[in-house]
């Protein structure tokens, strides 16, 4: 179970800081739920708080049960090392049998002959499949998913089926700036709004809200750009 109560988060040291307040979320074990927010709307901040990578500015976070890391995230890879070596690290971290786990991951990701090549020398699509398989081959109560477009175009259907299978036995938390990503898997969603998080048990309504918030964001960024341009012109003359 993941519960965020009156959480507020803020970016630091950026030109356009993001500040989110009154975030209230509750994800029970086995839930299929989306967290939707506009691009640059603070989704990574909330993701960090959910996974425990960062503390909120205020509010409380309660996490129980096994929660995955953001899948398919591969920022922790040693790029000069092989897929096998990177999978071994995750196996050690999650205390699972290395041999069984690595063979399952390599099979799911269809790595083939690239298994022992450094990650930096392998195609992106394979790395994306591998990053997804690392998480999917472990057992969690809630899988935190940030991208459902795994691998290349031809791989999409297969990995969507795997996601569906994961969702049938565990919870799925899809964090995305696109409602289309979450719609096929989730029945309900929270939309991150500057005023707080809004809960919907209807994905269509959530998508509409997200579209409104995103437009507002685009409009305000357009306005900011126009103001900046005007300022530049003023400065010039």
């Amino acid at each position: 179970m993941i519960e965020l109560r009156n959480v507020s988060v803020r970016t630091r040291g950026t030109i356009n800081p993001v500040f989110l307040k009154n975030i209230n979320l509750r994800v029970e074990a086995g839930d299929r739920i989306g967290i939707l927010g506009p691009k640059d709307g603070g989704l990574p901040l909330i993701l960090d708080v959910i996974c425990g990578a960062n503390a909120p500015l205020s509010g409380s976070v309660n996490r129980t049960g096994r929660i995955s890391w953001p899948i398919p995230g591969g920022a922790f890879f040693h790029k000069h090392q092989s897929y096998v070596a990177n999978a071994r690290f995750v196996a050690r971290l999650y205390e699972v049998d290395q041999h069984t786990y690595i063979s399952r991951v390599l099979e799911m990701a269809e790595v083939g002959d690239l298994a022992d090549l450094p990650v930096s020398r392998c195609p992106r699509a394979v790395t994306s499949r591998f990053a997804f398989a690392l998480g999917a081959c472990l057992s969690f109560e809630t899988y935190v998913i940030t991208n459902t477009n795994i691998g290349g175009k031809t791989d999409r259907e297969k990995y969507q089926d795997i996601l569906e299978e994961l969702a049938s036995r565990s919870g799925l938390l899809i964090v995305s700036s696109s409602a289309k990503t979450a719609e096929p898997f989730c029945h309900k969603a929270y939309v991150l709004d500057p005023a707080g998080s809004v809960y919907y048990d209807d994905m269509e309504a959530a998508a509409e809200h997200l579209a409104r918030v995103s437009k507002r964001g685009d409009a305000s960024s357009d306005q900011a750009e126009a103001e900046e341009e005007e300022q530049l012109v003023d400065d010039f003359f």
């Binding site: 960090d48 503390a55 922790f76 040693h78």
Partner: protein, 256 residues
């Protein structure tokens, strides 16, 4: 509780191996540079002494071992000091819910300890045999001093992390402090080389005490008049307590 401790042990083990595998990965010869760094230091000091003060080694000690026994404890401690940024900075590995900043601090420092501990013996064995000062007088005291230097370094790093979060420019000042500690901690001098009236200004420094304890424990012919293993242990425990408390406090705040 035992299950949780076992999990944390396995997490730290995995992170330490991950860290060791990533050391110097951006360089062509990887680990070779790690070995070369202290070697360059030793060679630099040797040259400096040759040009500035002749080649006479301090009374009761041999020239090369004198430097080796001074450099390694300081290297271990000052590398640990760099941990000040870990509890407050964002790390890609913190995306794993079971990894905490404290695990990262311990894993980073365990890998540093492993590297310098192996390097220490790789250098000490041939040099001490060459200079005819093998075996050490008190091996246990040497090992414990190295461990104390290591714990002291990262504990001090954790203490500093509290100030680093609200004041990131602290990084610049830590560079100066690092240099000051290197120079004042007995890397290239021992207490008997200093005039008696300046002794009180040096004996408070626990790092200087560690180098004195290590040299005292190695040589039969050198008895340090100030070396106090008890003082070293007390300082280490105090810094460890402070460091762990600060880490517990700092983890409640958002990262930089």
């Amino acid at each position: 509780m035992w299950k949780d401790l076992n999990t944390q042990f396995n997490v730290i083990k995995a992170l330490t191996i991950h860290n060791l595998q990533g050391q110097m990965s951006g360089y062509k010869y990887g680990f070779a540079w790690l070995i070369l760094e202290p070697l360059f230091f030793l060679a630099g000091f040797r040259l400096m002494r040759k040009f500035l003060g002749g080649l006479a080694s301090p009374p009761g000690m041999t020239p090369l071992m004198f430097y080796v026994l001074g450099v390694f404890p300081i290297f271990m401690a000052l590398n640990g000091l760099k941990s000040y940024s870990i509890p407050v900075a964002r790390s890609k590995l913190l995306g794993f819910p079971r990894v905490t900043p404290f695990d990262l601090v311990i894993a980073t420092n365990l890998s540093t300890f492993a590297i310098y501990f192996v390097l220490f013996w790789l250098m000490v064995l041939p040099i001490s045999i060459y200079e005819n000062v093998w075996p050490p007088q008190d091996l246990m005291q040497i090992m414990l001093s190295l461990i104390m230097a290591w714990i002291m370094g990262w504990s001090l790093g954790l203490v500093i992390s509290a100030a680093f979060r609200p004041f990131p420019p602290l990084k610049q000042f830590i560079g100066y402090a690092n240099f000051g500690l290197r120079m004042s901690s007995g890397m290239f001098f021992c207490i008997t080389m200093l005039p008696l009236n300046v002794w009180p200004y040096f004996t408070w420094n626990p790092l200087f005490q560690i180098t004195e304890v290590v040299r005292d424990a190695w040589y039969e012919g050198y008895v340090s008049p100030i070396a106090s293993p008890t003082y070293v242990v007390e300082c280490t425990l105090l810094l460890l307590f402070l460091g762990l408390s600060v880490e517990r406090h700092v983890r409640r705040f958002p990262k930089i």
